[in-house]
Amino acid sequence: MPFGGVRDFIARHVVGDVKVYKIDDFNMDPPEIIKTQEHIETFSMRPKIEIEVSKPFDFEKKIECVARRVKFLREPVSSRNIKIKYFVKQDVKTQKLSFNKKIKTYSQLKQIQALPQERQNVIKLQRKKPDVASNEIILACYGPIVEGAVEKIVLNKQNGTLLVWYKKGSRQFKARFVYLIRRLGMGSKPEWRWI
C-alpha cells in the first residue's frame, strides 16, 4: 500500500476525516426535457342499457340488451343477479287477472248412464249364507242388485267383479243378491241363482 493510502486508511479509522477531491472540469449539457402531454380520448364501455318488456315476467331468465337501437350483445344474456329496471311503454295493454269466472260444465248424462255398475264378490263378508243343496258350493256372491231392472250382467273374469247394466227408466227397486253356485260332479257348469 503506498504511503498516501496508508495515511488515508489511518485517517478514516482513527480520525474519521476523508479527503474529498473537487472536480472542476465536469461540464455536461443539461438533459433535454420533452413534454409528453397529449389529449387522450376516452370511450365509455358501459353504455346506458334499456330493457324493454311489455309486462313483468315477460322474459324467461334471458334478456336482450339494446343500446341506442343497437343490440349490445348478439345473444340474450342471463338476467340472473342483474338489477332490472322496467321501462314500460305507454301503449302496453294490461290484462286483469281474474279467477272469479264460472267454469264451463258439461252434462253428458247419456254417456254416464251407459256405464255399468260394478259389484264386488261379497261372499266373505256375508254373515248368513243361503241354504244350498249338499252337493252344491257357493263360488261367489254379488249384490245388492235390483233384479227386475237388470238389462245385462257380465262377469269380469279378470278381476272377479260383476258388471251390471240397468234399464233406463225402470221403477223397480227391490234388490237381491245373485250367487254363483257350482254343483259337484262331472261335467256340471256353474249357474247363477237369485236369492
Binding site: 315476467f57 287477472l97 279467477f99 272469479n100 269466472k101 264460472k102 267454469i103 264451463k104 260444465t105 258439461y106 252434462s107 253428458q108 248424462l109 254417456q111 254416464i112 248412464q113 256405464l115 255398475q117 260394478e118 259389484r119 264386488q120 261379497v122 263378508l125 256375508q126 254373515r127 245388492p144 235390483v146 231392472a149 240397468y166 233406463k168 225402470s170 223397480q172 227397486f173 227391490k174 234388490a175
Partner: protein, 184 residues
C-alpha cells in the same frame, strides 16, 4: 232445482297443482244416474299459482269447481256424499242439503244396518249402512244437528239395500278419465 226422494248426490273433485277438475252425479236408490255434470279441467298458469300460492287448490275446489257443479246440477239430492274434506263445509253451505264425507273403515261391524257409533273425533261417526261388512267412517260438517245425523244414517241404510253406496265414485272417476282422454 227439482228434488227427488231417495236420490243421493256424489261430488268428486280431483287434480294436481297444474290441473283440477270435478264431477257431480245424482243417482236413484239403485245407483242409476239421474243427473250428471262435469267441469272442464281448470289449468292455472304459473302467475296464478304464484299469486294464490298454496291456497289455490282449496280456492279452486270451493269457489270455482264446486259452485259451477252445483249451478249445473238440476236435481236436488236427499244427501250429498263427498270424499274430500276441503269441500265438506262449502258443499253444505252452498247446497243447504245434508252433506257427509264417507270413507270405508276397518272398524268391526256394528249391530245392525242404520246404527251409529261415536268416535273420538268431533263430528265423525261410524255408520253401519248395510247388513254385511264394516261400517263407514262418516264425517259431518261443523254444527250439524243430531237429528240430521240420524236422517243421513237412515238414508244411507235405505240406499244400501239396493246399491253399493261408494260405487258411484268409481263410475265418476272412470267417466272423468273417459271423457277427458277417450279411454276408460
Amino acid at each position: 232445482m227439482a228434488s227427488q226422494n231417495n236420490s243421493i248426490g256424489y261430488i268428486l273433485i280431483e287434480g294436481s297443482e297444474t290441473q283440477i277438475r270435478g264431477a257431480a252425479l245424482i243417482t236413484d236408490a239403485k245407483g242409476f244416474p239421474l243427473d250428471f255434470a262435469r267441469t272442464e279441467p281448470l289449468r292455472p298458469d304459473h302467475l296464478a299459482r304464484i299469486l294464490y300460492g298454496d291456497s289455490f287448490g282449496k280456492y279452486a275446489k270451493e269457489k270455482l269447481i264446486l259452485e259451477s257443479l252445483l249451478d249445473a246440477i238440476e236435481i236436488q239430492p236427499q244427501l250429498w256424499i263427498c270424499t274430500d274434506s276441503d269441500i265438506l263445509e262449502p258443499l253444505r253451505a252452498d247446497s243447504k242439503i245434508k252433506t257427509v264425507l264417507l270413507e270405508e273403515s276397518p272398524h268391526v261391524p256394528l249391530e245392525a244396518a242404520g246404527h251409529i257409533e261415536t268416535t273420538a273425533e268431533p263430528g265423525v261417526f261410524f255408520i253401519q249402512a248395510n247388513a254385511n261388512g264394516a261400517p263407514f267412517r262418516a264425517e259431518f260438517p261443523n254444527g250439524i244437528r243430531p237429528e240430521e245425523i240420524q236422517q243421513a244414517a237412515a238414508c244411507l241404510a235405505e240406499a244400501a239395500q239396493s246399491m253399493n253406496i261408494l260405487e258411484p265414485f268409481t263410475r265418476l272417476q272412470k267417466a272423468l278419465n273417459f271423457l277427458a282422454t277417450g279411454r276408460s
